[in-house]
C-alpha cells in the first residue's frame, strides 16, 4: 500500500507540475497579435494587476453576470482555498502563521466547499440552460471533488486517521524516503481521488486557474494609440512592406 501510494503520488506530482508547466509555457509563448482588452480597461500595468486580482479573488465578472452562481462559486472556492492552506501542514515540518491561523476552520471551510459543490451540481441538473452545456466530464469533476471533500470531512469529524503518520509519509516523499502510510480506507480513498485530480488537472478545465491570468481580454492595458503593439509574426509581415 505504502509503495503504491509513493509511486502514485510521484507520478501524480510529476504530471501536475510538468503538465501545468508545459501549458503555462504554451500560453506565455503564444503571441497576442492585437490589443483586445474588454473595455473599459485599465491604462496601466498596476491597473491590470488590480483587475486580475479582482477577478481571481472576488470573481468580479461573475458578480456582474449572475449573483446566485457567484455565491455558489465563492462558497466552493473560498472553502477550497482554506482547506488547501490547512493541508500545508502535511508537507511542512514547521507550519507558517497563515496555516496555523486557519487550522480551526476545518469544519466551516469543509462545509462551505461541500455545500458549494452540491449547489453547483444541483444547478447543472436542474437549470435547463446549464444542463444543455454540461458534459459528462463536468459532472465527473464535481463528483470527484465531492468525493474528496466527503472523505476528508469524515476523517476530520468522525474516523480520525493518524495525521502524524500522514505527515511523515509526505514529508518523507519530499525527501525521496519512503515511510509507511496508514491504511485507513477513508484515507486511501481520499488520496486516490486527490491523485486523480492532480493527474487530470493539466488536461481539463481546471486550467481556468492559471489560464485566467493569460486571458488577453483581462490582462492587457488599454493603450493601443499610445504604444505600438506588434508581435513577432506580425512584424515579419512588415518586412514585405515597401
Amino acid at each position: 500500500m505504502t509503495t503504491f501510494f509513493a509511486i502514485l503520488f510521484t507520478v501524480a506530482t510529476l504530471t501536475l507540475v510538468i503538465g501545468l508547466g508545459l501549458k503555462i509555457a504554451q500560453y506565455a509563448r503564444t503571441p497576442a497579435p492585437l490589443k483586445i482588452p474588454t473595455t473599459p480597461a485599465p491604462l496601466t500595468k498596476p491597473g491590470v494587476a488590480f483587475r486580475l486580482a479582482r477577478e481571481a479573488v472576488v470573481f468580479e465578472s461573475l458578480f456582474k453576470a449572475n449573483k446566485p452562481l457567484w455565491i455558489f462559486a465563492a462558497l466552493f472556492h473560498f472553502g477550497l482555498a482554506v482547506v488547501l492552506v490547512r493541508h500545508v501542514r502535511y508537507f511542512q515540518t514547521e507550519v507558517g502563521p497563515l496555516v496555523a491561523l486557519v487550522q480551526p476552520l476545518a469544519l466551516p471551510a469543509g462545509l462551505a466547499m461541500l455545500i458549494g459543490l452540491l449547489l453547483l451540481l444541483g444547478r447543472r441538473l436542474v437549470l435547463e440552460r446549464i444542463r444543455y452545456i454540461t458534459g459528462r466530464s463536468d459532472i465527473l469533476m464535481l463528483v470527484l471533488l465531492l468525493g474528496i471533500a466527503v472523505t476528508g470531512m469524515f476523517m476530520t469529524k468522525h474516523v480520525h486517521t493518524d495525521v502524524v503518520a500522514v505527515k511523515a509519509f509526505f514529508t518523507g516523499l519530499l525527501g525521496f524516503e519512503i515511510r509507511s502510510l496508514p491504511g485507513d480506507p477513508l484515507l486511501v480513498v481520499h488520496l486516490l481521488l486527490v491523485a486523480i485530480l492532480m493527474i487530470v488537472f493539466p488536461f481539463s478545465k481546471l486550467l481556468h486557474a492559471p489560464g485566467l491570468f493569460f486571458s488577453p481580454t483581462r490582462n492587457q492595458t488599454d493603450t493601443p494609440r499610445e504604444h505600438r503593439h506588434l508581435c513577432d509574426w506580425a512584424a515579419k509581415l512588415e518586412d514585405k512592406r515597401s
Binding site: 497579435p33 453576470a65 452562481l69 462559486a73 481539463s204 489560464g211 493601443p224
Partner: protein, 499 residues
C-alpha cells in the same frame, strides 16, 4: 409590414426574461455561401475541395499558435454558464446554440478531438467531435449568428470572448473555401473601388457637390465637403454609408459643419473612402491589414497631419485598437493628437473649448436616448480615461439636445446589446436573425419610449443605423427614430458668425 417570420413580442426589460430552450430554432438560418467570384480575389479557394477537413485542422493549428486568445479560450471554459443568458441572439431566438458557451463549443469540440490528450483518448467523455461536413455546416450557420459584439466577454469570469472564436472559425472556413458571400463580396469592393458600397470616385464627387448645395440652400453658409485635397490638416475616414443614404448622410453634413465652424481644413479621400474594415469580421489579419494600409497610403499621399474617423462601431474598434498595430507607426503625423481620433473626441473638445457654438433649440421637442454601439463600448475607447466612450457621446448629445434619458442600466455602456446587425450579419437573408437579435434592445427602447416619451435613439455606428432603420418598423416604431450623434450636432450648431 408583412414579415415571412414572426416578430418576437416585446417583454419587460426589468424582468430579464430568459427564454426556454428551443432546440434547433435557428438551425436553418444561414447566410449565402461565397462563390468563387467572391473568394478568389481575396486569395481564398473558390469552393470546398477534397481534403478540406485536413486543411481546416491545419489552419486551426496555425491560428492556435498565432493567437493566445484562441489557445487560452479553448482550454479554460469551466462551463459555468454565466454567459448563457447574455447574448442577444439567444435571448431573441431561444436556440441553445446561440448561448456563447454553446457557440464556442461547436469549435471547441473539434479542438479537443485533434489538439488535446483528453479528446484523443476519450472523445465521448469530453464532447470531442471529428471535423465533418455536418460540423462544418453547423459552424457556418451559427458562427454567422454571432455579431462579434463581445457582450459575453464582459460577464465571463475567465474573460472568454466568443467573438474571437467566431473570427477564427470564419477564417478557417474562408481558408478551406466556404466563405460568406456578404463579407467577402464587400472586401472585394474595398480593394477594387475603395469602399464597401462600391461607390466609384465620380459618384462620390457628385454626392458631395449635391450635399454642399443642400447645405447652402438650407443655411446660407457655404460649407464645403472637400475630397482628395492635398495638404489639408485632417483626413476624415468615414463609413461609405455616410455618402449614400439617410440617416447616415445627415451625420456627414454634421461633420462638415463642425469642421467649417472650427475653421479646420479637412479632406475626404477616394482611396480611403471607407472606415469599415470587414477584415475583422472574417478574422483575417492579412485582409484587415491590407484594408488598413489604404488609410496610411491616403494619409501619406495627401500629406495630412491628423486622421479622424467618422461614426462607426466596428470601424472604430479596428481604428482605435488595431490601426497602430496594422498600419503604424504614425510618426509622420502631428504628435500632438492621438492617431486616429474619433470625430466625437474632436467635436467634444471644440465644445469644451468653446470653439463651436451649439443651440439646443435646433432640436426642440426631442427626447433622446443613446444606444452604445457594441464595438465602441467594449472594444475601444474615446478620450483619455477608461469609459470615455460612454461619457463623450453623452456630453456632446447633452450639448445639442434638450433632454437625454438613458435606457435600463443592464442595456447600456459596457452591458449594451448589439443592434442585432453587427459583425457581418447585416444582410437580407439573415433578416429573421437580425429581427430577433434586436429584441433586447427594442424592449429597452420601448420602456423609455412609454415612460419618458423618448422619441429618438442616437447611435455612433453605420451598421447600427442601417439595422435600426430596418427593424424599428417591425416593432412598431418609426424608422426615422434612429440616427447619429452628428446628425443632432448638425441641427444644433450655430453657423455663419465664425471668427
Amino acid at each position: 409590414m408583412a414579415a415571412p417570420f414572426d416578430t418576437p413580442v416585446l417583454g419587460d426589460v426589468d424582468e430579464r426574461r430568459i427564454p426556454a430552450l428551443k432546440v434547433g430554432a435557428m438551425a436553418e438560418s444561414k447566410p449565402y455561401v461565397a462563390t468563387a467570384a467572391h473568394q478568389e480575389p481575396l486569395g481564398f479557394p473558390g469552393v470546398l475541395e477534397d481534403g478540406w477537413e485536413k486543411k481546416a485542422i491545419g489552419r486551426m493549428g496555425e491560428l492556435l499558435g498565432k493567437y493566445r486568445s484562441l489557445q487560452v479560450f479553448m482550454d479554460i471554459c469551466v462551463k459555468c454558464g454565466a454567459c448563457t443568458d447574455k447574448c442577444q441572439y439567444f435571448l431573441g431566438t431561444g436556440d441553445p446554440k446561440n448561448m456563447p458557451v454553446a457557440r464556442a463549443d461547436l469549435f471547441r469540440s473539434v479542438y479537443r478531438r485533434y489538439f488535446t490528450t483528453a479528446g484523443k483518448l476519450t472523445p465521448g467523455l469530453v464532447g470531442a467531435r471529428d471535423m465533418t461536413k455536418e460540423v462544418l455546416d453547423e459552424w457556418f450557420n451559427y458562427f454567422h449568428q454571432c455579431s462579434q459584439c463581445r457582450r459575453c466577454s464582459v460577464f465571463c469570469p475567465s474573460g472568454i470572448d466568443t467573438a474571437e472564436i467566431s473570427m477564427a472559425a470564419r477564417d478557417i472556413m474562408d481558408t478551406i473555401g466556404q466563405g460568406q458571400k456578404y463579407c467577402n463580396e464587400i472586401i472585394g469592393k474595398v480593394h477594387k473601388v475603395g469602399n464597401n458600397l462600391g461607390l466609384p470616385a465620380p459618384a462620390l464627387l457628385n454626392t458631395l457637390e449635391g450635399l454642399e448645395e443642400d447645405i447652402l440652400d438650407e443655411t446660407g453658409v457655404p460649407v464645403k465637403l472637400p475630397i482628395d485635397v492635398h495638404g489639408a490638416e485632417v483626413l476624415l475616414v468615414t463609413p461609405s454609408a455616410d455618402f449614400f443614404a439617410e440617416p447616415h448622410v445627415l451625420g456627414l453634413i454634421g461633420y462638415a459643419k463642425v469642421f467649417h465652424a472650427a475653421g479646420v481644413s479637412w479632406t475626404l479621400s477616394t482611396l480611403a473612402s471607407e472606415a469599415g474594415n470587414f477584415g475583422m469580421f472574417i478574422g483575417n489579419y492579412e485582409q484587415m491589414r491590407k484594408i488598413s494600409m489604404r488609410i496610411r497610403d491616403a494619409a501619406l499621399a495627401l500629406g495630412v497631419k491628423r486622421i479622424i474617423f467618422g461614426e462607426c462601431g466596428h470601424a472604430w474598434r479596428v481604428a482605435y485598437s488595431f490601426l497602430n498595430t496594422l498600419a503604424g507607426p504614425w510618426d509622420f503625423l502631428d504628435p500632438r493628437y492621438p492617431v486616429p481620433q474619433h470625430i466625437l473626441e474632436f467635436t467634444n473638445d471644440l465644445i469644451t473649448r468653446k470653439g463651436i457654438k451649439l443651440d439646443k433649440s435646433g432640436n426642440d421637442g426631442m427626447v433622446l436616448t443613446v444606444h452604445d454601439s457594441c464595438n465602441v463600448a467594449r472594444g475601444a475607447r474615446m478620450g483619455d480615461r477608461p469609459g470615455g466612450q460612454f461619457t463623450i457621446p453623452r456630453d456632446v448629445i447633452r450639448a445639442s439636445v434638450p433632454k437625454l434619458i438613458d435606457m435600463h442600466p443592464d442595456t447600456i455602456c459596457e452591458k449594451t446589446f448589439c443592434c442585432g446587425g453587427g459583425g457581418g450579419v447585416l444582410t437580407d437573408e439573415l433578416l429573421d436573425l437580425r429581427l430577433k437579435g434586436a429584441l433586447p434592445r427594442m424592449e429597452a427602447i420601448k420602456e423609455v419610449a412609454d415612460r419618458d416619451q423618448v422619441n429618438f435613439v442616437a447611435m455612433i455606428c453605420a451598421i447600427c443605423k442601417a439595422q435600426f432603420t430596418k427593424v424599428l418598423p417591425y416593432y412598431g416604431f418609426k424608422m426615422s427614430m434612429a440616427g447619429g450623434v452628428h446628425q443632432l450636432v448638425s441641427t444644433a450648431i450655430v453657423l455663419g458668425n465664425e471668427q
